[in-house]
Symmetry: C2
Amino acid sequence: MVRTPLIAAPWAGPLWLKPESLQPIGAFKLRGAYHAVASLPADVQKNGVVAHSSGNHAQALAYAARDYGIPCVIVMPDAALPAKIAATRALGAEVVLVGATERLTEAAAIAADRGMSLIPPFDHPDVIAGQGTVGLEILDDLAEVACVLVPVGGGGLASGVAAAVKALRPDVTVVGVEPELAGDAAESFAAGELRQWPLEKTYRTIADGLRTNLSERTFAHLRTYVDEMLTVSEKQIEDAMGRIAVGSRLVAEPSGAVSVAGYLAHREVLPPGPAVAVISGGNVDPSVLARVL
Amino acid sequence: MVRTPLIAAPWAGPLWLKPESLQPIGAFKLRGAYHAVASLPADVQKNGVVAHSSGNHAQALAYAARDYGIPCVIVMPDAALPAKIAATRALGAEVVLVGATERLTEAAAIAADRGMSLIPPFDHPDVIAGQGTVGLEILDDLAEVACVLVPVGGGGLASGVAAAVKALRPDVTVVGVEPELAGDAAESFAAGELRQWPLEKTYRTIADGLRTNLSERTFAHLRTYVDEMLTVSEKQIEDAMGRIAVGSRLVAEPSGAVSVAGYLAHREVLPPGPAVAVISGGNVDPSVLARVL
């Protein structure tokens, strides 16, 4: 893992960026996958790991398995982008392509048949704990932090960061941010119960990493440890991407920029003092990046 | 200063990037300016510092002076970009605008009148030593490094990095890279004597930070500590900028991308094994960045 530094964003205020975009696969996902693999008992770990994912989690798990020298199978929908399949194979994983509806059953079957451990992208305590190291590093590097903003998709990153920050520094405000167009977590938070949005609704946002719903586990974390949920518009996300690139020289993907967008759009509800926005990833289509500059 | 991490560039080979683009002012210049201010005797330091610069050195020196709570005067040509003047003033410096030909005499006059120390952008041992910390960090973070590539403009960064690397690890190859269109250092290196190129010639390159000629001091450093000088085309610079943004999620300015361009274009003359390319800065016109994506 890269020990990502805090990067100043004076153009936005007393704001610092935590660029998880600089991790080897371009996203925070490596932290959780790595910690989940590291936490397996040795006799179980040697049998390898399996996951169903067509996104960053696939590459994160493949990367961790390669480092540990253990087998890794990634189940992907047969409609997955060839580039994502190739990138996962390049990290040494076996990629199994199935119809989109068969992904879960196929991954479970492989786990059972081969004695492999199924590592989900966010709904797992070891994965959440791994993401929490982002929070530990923020507290180490900026003791005077008043507020931490985290993007919310499935909620693994926000759960881990919020749990870590609140355990050590209950006085620090932790804010989750998501797109208005995938505002299931904000709605759940306000309603006090888990609300699932259909994928055809969340797929409207450009922030493709945040279209996922929370699980019961991550929702419970957010309710316990997160102070506030904010939402941002598509325009605010794109504006933030451009300002991050020009002002702090970092490439953020739309999902990664929502935390900064939330800071810029909602400063009046945030505590005064230094804030840290987690840039969750930087895997963006070049044409999208070019458009927002 | 940010302790910049090494960022993997597996898309290029066994290459790591040292992103000085992530320093507060977006360039390595802060290291040298800060070290020069820190090295002044206390009774001299309190009188403040002065420089003539319309570039990153102006902001670097203003930033360092502000941290030390001492006065700072920056002499700029009256044709300097308003954004650069504003950015320097925002860091607390007094900006004095003069005709382009009067910059040196005006800065010297201010130094004499006010008892301020003149801190040049690269032709100064303390400035060079400060830039050298980039080399120390590379050796700390990647002991198995075989080759370090550094952009060459005035030669301050390359002088410092090469001196630091060779002092500790004479087995590591240090390579300077510059644009073909501002190839004065490569020509000087080959000729064994300092060759100055007229500004109307070096101004053809997009790499605006590398249009400067070497000084006798930096040329002496390069001859002693640098193993090889390479040049790259304008197209190679732009290609490298795009690949750095997409592959390693970093915004590099053209001057910052020449080290990566040199690696991609000249791998056959470099030693096998891990290489580090220093990304000297990330202050790029958004329209230029959009074009290369």
